[in-house]
């Protein structure tokens, strides 16, 4: 039955017995209290991807990020200082708390470059490393020492050009947190792929539901049936979907899939414009002229089953960062930023090697346009799911072996929340009644 070998345990799911095979309770995606706990246990404690180093081309380059998933109003500045170090700070002036970097609308993200940060309110100035360098009418203040008022830093570390921040000062180093999948991806030519298309959507569903949609391709032959030619769609639906490989390492996971149509075996399988532009959902067919993307050049974590039909790997770095590598030499990232139990902001970036001519440029254009067509369908399906599970008419749902990573995602989110609850309970026990204010502060 299976076209690709499964583990000796008999299935992918049973290879990780702690996941179980029973129907999964989706209350974690509709319970507002669970979301509040996830915010404390996950989004305030784990490493979060906020952008690529290419957005900071020189000393003084910066961009701001709104981080509602961490807490209402939370905003950070990510910048490159004089020594080339990437840093992050709370976007807040130490004088009276005005938002430091913004234009026109305080809630909107901005980017640019500057020699220093100057507050709009009273012109306090900060160096690129966060040091307070100027206080307007300094002698009007009482015993003020500028060294005591630098910008408040946020943990910021870079892996292979991906910038991450962490709001927990005690968190483990980024590379330790990302673990073996990240180690096995090192050396992939991410830095060559600097032609970027960025998308944003506000989605009326729990953040985990969109990850659910992207870590299984069981849906692909059905939901996206119309995008293929009629004959091809019928064939795909009949065969269904099987991954080449799944893997789980602690909180992170990956799915490896076959190559599909890049390039197609038969030109009749694809739409007329794809035939002219040599491109489609799976990206431009013609590989760019760079090192590091041919099958035998790929780093060890990519195409782990060493399948000749390999087409893409999707790495799911918990909690909310998807890194998807395509065989023809491009990649994309997704981030899912919850703002409520039933709302999140979805971000996507497509990264290509800069095109050298109009042929390559239009080929990438078609891939980008195609991506959006699919994303719109996926996004709308999520809202339809959220409203129905929200009724609690049914709370448990059966997941198949091709949906193992959904099982792992919900299991992992639960694990972090449960650990957090235990820690809070232990703190409350040791502090006795004195912990009352702390508990309230934790928003449990």
């Amino acid at each position: 039955m299976a076209h690709f070998p499964k583990p000796a345990a008999g299935s992918w799911t049973e290879n990780w017995p702690e996941l179980g095979t029973a129907p999964v309770d989706y209350t974690d995606s509709i319970d507002p209290e669970q979301w509040k706990l996830e915010q404390q246990a996950i989004f305030r404690k784990l490493w979060l991807h906020v952008g690529r180093v290419e957005r900071l081309p020189k000393a003084g380059s910066y961009f701001t990020r709104e981080m509602p998933s961490v807490g209402a109003g939370t905003s950070i500045i990510v910048n490159k200082d004089k020594d080339g170090q990437v840093r992050a700070f709370y976007n807040l002036c130490r004088h009276r708390g005005n938002k430091l970097v913004w234009n026109d609308y305080p809630g909107e993200e901005v980017s640019g470059s500057c020699r220093q940060f100057t507050c709009k309110y009273h012109a306090w100035r900060y160096a690129l490393d966060g040091e307070l360098t100027f206080i307007q009418q300094e002698d009007e203040f009482f015993d003020v020492d500028k060294a005591d008022y630098p910008l408040k830093p946020v943990r910021c570390e870079v892996w292979e050009g991906f910038i991450f921040v962490n709001f927990d000062d005690d968190a483990e180093p980024l590379v330790d947190y990302l673990g073996d999948f990240a180690k096995g991806l090192e050396g992939y030519p991410f830095h060559e792929m600097t032609e970027v298309y960025s998308y944003r959507a506000e989605i009326n569903s729990n953040w985990k539901l969109f990850i659910d949609a992207f870590v299984e391709f069981y849906h692909a032959p059905i939901l996206h049936m119309k995008q293929a030619t009629a004959e091809e769609a019928a064939k795909l639906a009949k065969v269904g979907f099987e991954a080449l490989h799944y893997d789980i390492k602690d909180q992170h996971s990956m799915i490896s899939s076959w190559g599909g149509m890049s390039p197609p075996k038969d030109l009749n399988m694809v739409k007329p414009i794809e035939r002219i532009l040599h491109s489609g959902l799976f990206g431009p067919w013609d590989r760019p002229d760079i090192k590091g993307i041919l099958p035998d050049e790929l780093p060890p974590a990519v195409n782990p089953a060493r399948q000749p039909t390999w087409g893409q790997d999707s790495f799911e770095f918990f909690p909310n960062f998807t890194l998807l590598l395509w065989a023809p030499g491009w990649y994309l990232t997704y981030n899912y930023w919850p703002t409520a139990v039933d709302k999140h902001i979805f971000e996507c970036n497509l990264y290509f090697v800069p095109p050298k001519n109009t042929r390559q440029r239009l080929s990438q254009e078609l891939a980008a346009v195609t991506f959006k067509e699919y994303a719109l369908q996926d996004a709308n399906t999520l809202e339809a799911t959220q409203t129905q599970i929200g009724t609690r008419a049914v709370t448990e749902f059966p997941l198949c072996d091709q949906e193992i990573l959904l099982r792992h995602l919900h299991h992992t989110a639960h694990k972090y929340v449960d650990k957090y609850k235990l820690e809070q309970a232990a703190k409350a026990a040791t502090n006795g009644s004195a912990s009352k204010t702390e508990k309230e502060g934790a928003n449990v």
Binding site: Q227, R359, L376
Partner: protein, 117 residues
Amino acid sequence: MSETNGTKERLLPEEFADLERFSDWILPTEPERYAKRLASTMEEMQNLYDVGMARLEDVMVYLDARFPLHGMPDDAKRLMHLMQSVVMVSFPVEVWKQPRVLDSGAAWVEIVREPVV
């Protein structure tokens, strides 16, 4: 063209003057092209698609033989923007048979950063 009648400035390279009637599809950014798509009839998009698809290969050969991607004169750039609109209407024409993505309902995905030719 413009020299002979003296009334209208030429927008596209002379070799592609026949595409000038689609000049309202010369749009440099994705949000403009996407909005135009949603505001157009299938007949309008089918016309652009039919003519554009027939010239797409010629356009790439013409432009790539003459200019670097980031050093095109304005008329060549406009031709490129028009071809990007051909890509934009290809899904409504080839797949959906309607301007909107099928089953996309209230969903909205916007592009926030893109390379502009």
